[in-house]
Symmetry: C2
Subunit: 253 residues, 2 copies
Amino acid sequence: MGTTQLESVPEPKYWHLKTVLNDALDSEFEVGEILPNERDLAARFGVARATLRQALEQLELEGRLQRRRGVGTTVAPPRMGVSVGPSANAWPGAGRDSWETVGCVEAVAPAAIAALLGTGRDQAVHTIRRVRVMRGQPVAAELLYVPPASVPGLPGDLSPAAHAPAVLRELHALELEGEDRAVELGSARADDAKQLDRLPGAPVLVVTSRYYTGGRVAAASVSTYRADTCRLTFGDAGAFEVTHHQQDTRQAS
Amino acid sequence: MGTTQLESVPEPKYWHLKTVLNDALDSEFEVGEILPNERDLAARFGVARATLRQALEQLELEGRLQRRRGVGTTVAPPRMGVSVGPSANAWPGAGRDSWETVGCVEAVAPAAIAALLGTGRDQAVHTIRRVRVMRGQPVAAELLYVPPASVPGLPGDLSPAAHAPAVLRELHALELEGEDRAVELGSARADDAKQLDRLPGAPVLVVTSRYYTGGRVAAASVSTYRADTCRLTFGDAGAFEVTHHQQDTRQAS
DNA sequence: GAGTGGTCTAGACCACCCT
DNA sequence: GGGTGGTCTAGACCACTCC
């Protein structure tokens, strides 16, 4: 029959649009520059606004664009390398790590956290809420869980303001023996989104950490990183110093 | 004035829909069970199909659902814990790690990879394409780059079939001194998507690794993991053995 | 061919930011 | 108030899978 089936896979419009815009961002725009609004862009490319938005959403997911309601769409800077690896970090809150404590309560943790800690179901744990800031931007919201058993020397009468520092101080006095970590994709809950200056549902990288001492889990944390602006770095050798976008590091084989 | 402004923040429909569906998945469905089709679901909830799809997309992003064109929407099992940490892995390809080599060429790497390796711009490197399989499913597509300088003992006359094993064998003979790693969110390119059994643009976790020997970068890799089905684990203590979804580990403070 | 999810359209209104 | 992105609608057609 000899049916030549070249071009038999029509590329979706939004996909083609995305590559066109991606190339344009490289060649015709500077970081921080604002793009034309969505209605104009859609008209210029001859597509519906929803189709254009599909392309913009992907580019935002990949960290190429930043969109803010009421303001506009701007070209995003390269992602920040954020160290979450072992070594330098040591105990959470140690070192000058640009974390800000937002709140601290002693409450019963959800079942999944209790499983992480290996504590009983209904046991209260110290719960510290913190925000990580880099270059003036919030990059992560975290909940740090510390069972009372891990900080036996903690005074009983603590003002809310003194609570978190005291727990962290006691924690740092222990010897850190090891760390566990997991990363997965999630979407920002309303409270995290607010602290990350994003809308609810924004894509985030959820980092779950366990800190060991004496063969037991002394603390655990769940950190929610902005997926659009952050590249998480692990490893003893320190953060990458790469100035390229991840797309550039991938090619067909 | 005393204007009570309760409920002044109307939740988007798709967001409310998402939580309703999420709860229903926990209580009324089993893993692997197929949901009603999108048109029926939309009608049942009294919303447009596009609105329902927005909710389904988020749930798929969070690993709760799996959708396949022409088939339907099913309830996804909990994400697989995939170890990408140091230690056990050692050199890429060492150990019984369920990687399958798909191809191998010697070609000039893109500029970003050359920067990662610290090699010259136009230098050819061994490029090995591999796929990682777990529980019968492809979970990652990888490109492993090895400069010829790292494998000086490599024979010159290699058949395509013998190329990749020979490069890996030479690599494993070196002493691995350290590893660097970074994780960021991306969307699957067409070629990766095909090997991951997903559509182009599907969300992926891109892991960029550098392997050191003799104080230099001996190899580098870019691995593309399915974000919907994988939870990446790091750490010396081995993979987490958590059976909960990440949503369950997060709560308001 | 019937049924599924994926793409696309052309509109509308809303929430938010700025001036 | 005017402009931006965010949400929502009610349709249509396409690509794919399975019977």
